[in-house]
């Protein structure tokens, strides 16, 4: 297993994908954190013209967790491509020659996904918190960095992003086709889930349902985000969000093991 971990680590760091995605994520998350923090400092505040402005706590939380609530697509993609690119470039053949036990292969990918996810989580959350706190303090708003509750959800945001990378590994193992993986991930994260959360969240029965979608579960883990703050509908407890995300990872990984990894590699 140790050899597999070293091999998977080397696979990740010997191509350029990881740092291109990491840099893109940092820029994206930093920009969003800055914009949200600055908007929140305006007299009208966050929350739009109709609804009530967000509380200070909700505002700060929205800024610091923007990595896990919006930037999560980056660890998701790196996890998914860790598997799909093996099929795309047919390196799955030498990989399975070096380690024929396919469960070990999957566990290695999950471990690599977890590692990459933690790096993305730490960087994404650090950028969001750093840029956000800088803009907040520059505009004279409280940063709440002296409160332990703040650091708790900052830490949970890192955990959430790591879980997204694991989920990506599951998606990649089930789909394996690199193009399909990218299309499905983007369509789901940018259209399907956001629309479902707004449309179904407005109904009484749908609200309970959408709380179990992965994005909603991830927001629940960090105790809410800009999204849950503006949208209506119930939010799961943090631990329930954690369990739901882990459940998605488990289901996808097992499905991938039973379907993809049982098939002939030709």
């Amino acid at each position: 297993m140790r050899a597999t971990l070293v091999a998977e680590y080397r696979k990740l760091v010997t191509t350029r994908l990881w740092w291109i995605l990491l840099a893109a994520m940092a820029a994206y998350v930093g920009f969003l954190a800055g914009v949200i923090a600055w908007t929140a400092s305006r007299p009208e505040g966050l929350g739009g013209s109709g609804s009530a402005p967000l509380s200070v706590d909700e505002t700060v939380r929205s800024v610091y967790t923007v990595g896990s609530s919006v930037g999560y697509v980056f660890p998701l993609v790196i996890g998914a491509l860790a598997v799909a690119s093996e099929f795309r470039h047919r390196t799955v053949t030498p990989t399975l020659l070096a380690e024929p036990r396919r469960t070990v292969f999957l566990l290695g990918k999950l471990a690599a996904g977890l590692g990459a996810g933690l790096v993305f989580g730490v960087v994404g959350t650090a950028v969001a918190t750093g840029v956000g706190a800088a803009v907040l303090s520059a505009t004279g708003s409280p940063t709440l960095l002296d409160q332990s509750a703040t650091w708790r959800y900052v830490g949970l945001a890192v955990v959430a992003m790591a879980l997204w990378a694991l989920l990506g590994v599951g998606v990649g193992t089930v789909l394996t086709n690199q193009v399909a993986v990218v299309v499905v991930v983007l369509a789901w994260t940018q259209f399907v889930e956001p629309i479902a959360r707004i449309a179904l969240g407005a109904t009484s029965w749908g609200g309970h349902l959408v709380a179990y979608l992965p994005g909603a579960a991830s927001d629940a883990l960090t105790g809410g985000s800009l999204y849950t703050a503006v949208a209506s509908g119930p939010v799961l407890d943090w631990w329930a969000g954690l369990l739901v995300l882990l459940g998605y990872v488990a289901v996808l990984a097992i499905a991938g093991r039973l379907a993809t990894l049982r098939r002939d590699i030709t």
């Binding site: 091999a7 010997t14 470039h89 053949t93 030498p94 399975l96 020659l97 070096a98 024929p100 030709t266």
Partner: protein, 328 residues
């Protein structure tokens, strides 16, 4: 010594019977050519041997064990399959460094194998910029990482220039001389003719021939082309002498099998038959190969009908086995 054994192996992809009741043994210390036309089932057989494809029935073992049962497979078997598999964005050296831990060798070994295949200079370049021949060499380097006693190479000569083929030939011979088991697939016999000691020939998933190369060469038969203006006289002479023809006589033109040109000339002279042409035609190994793999249903009829060709063209016929395999 590590032998590779394929025993009554069958593999179907849906309705396609890619490998059909195939049995053969690959011996250590020799280079074995695994030959067959496109789609014969060579790659599929290798993939089953390597545990990548599950057989429909039968077994394929290396040193008596299935690939998945080997503890450190990279130290036992080095395999390179067609369509060499590399990430284009990774350097050649990094490609080797990725697999070194699981094969169970230190990173220093990656430099050694790169040097062995003559890629030391370009190891730091991305594989996406490699030529086909460079990729083949890198694939070979990957198989050598674990210094394995068994090498399974799928079309390793593909994309190599004549110089590269010569290099590969010497390289494989040296590996076999060290006592390793070397199996090389190809769809042209001439490509490996000067490399291999043994041949395993398959067609449509079935074994059609397995022997040493020398015994395969023994199946070649001399042919003499005879042209005479007197077609009837020629036909009469052929009948009287009891010669076998490679094909039906076309006008005054016939191809006599297994009779030296001198004997044909002497007989014609004695019979007073005027000859315009008397030429020995070389039937190379490639023709024997084509005769074995071309089937009764319109394949190229390369060699004269004999026991071998008859067996090969019989759809349910037994494959020809010559030499040590048949003796067992």
């Amino acid at each position: 010594m590590t032998e590779v054994e394929v025993d009554r192996l069958s593999k179907s992809f849906g309705a396609v019977r890619a490998v059909d009741h195939l049995s053969f043994t690959v011996r250590a210390g020799r280079v074995t050519g695994f030959l067959g036309p496109n789609g014969a089932g060579k790659t599929t057989t290798l993939r089953v041997l390597l545990g990548l494809v599950a057989p429909t029935s039968g077994t394929a073992t290396i040193g008596g064990r299935r690939y998945s049962e080997l503890t450190r497979p990279g130290r036992v078997v080095g395999a390179a399959l067609e369509a060499a598999s590399f990430h284009p964005g990774r350097t050649g050296l990094d490609h080797l460094r990725v697999y070194a831990p699981q094969v169970g060798v230190p990173d220093s070994r990656t430099h050694e194998v790169l040097a062995l295949v003559g890629l030391s200079e370009v190891g730091g370049r991305r594989v996406g910029g490699y030529s086909l021949g460079m990729r083949q060499r890198l694939a070979l380097a990957t198989t050598l990482l674990g210094d394995p006693p068994v090498l399974l190479l799928d079309e390793p000569a593909n994309g190599l220039d004549p110089e590269g083929i010569r290099w590969l030939r010497a390289f494989l011979r040296a590996l076999a001389a060290e006592g390793r088991t070397v199996l090389v697939s190809s769809h042209v016999l001439s490509e490996v003719e000067q490399t291999v000691d043994d041949v395993v020939i398959i067609s449509r998933g079935r074994l059609v021939h397995s022997s040493s190369l020398a015994e395969l060469a023994g199946l070649t038969r001399p042919r003499v082309q005879v042209v005479s203006p007197d077609a009837a006289g020629l036909a009469a002479l052929v009948a009287r002498a009891g010669w076998t023809l490679a094909g039906p006589q076309r006008g005054g033109e016939a191809e006599v099998v297994d009779v030296p040109a001198a004997a044909v000339g002497a007989a014609a002279f004695a019979a007073g038959l005027e000859l315009h042409q008397l030429a020995t035609r070389d039937v190379g190994l490639e023709d024997v190969f084509l005769g074995l793999t071309g089937d009764a249903a319109g394949g190229p009829a390369g060699i004269a009908a004999g026991p071998v060709a008859a067996a090969a063209s019989d759809p349910r016929g037994a494959p020809t086995e010559v030499g040590p395999e048949a003796a067992r």
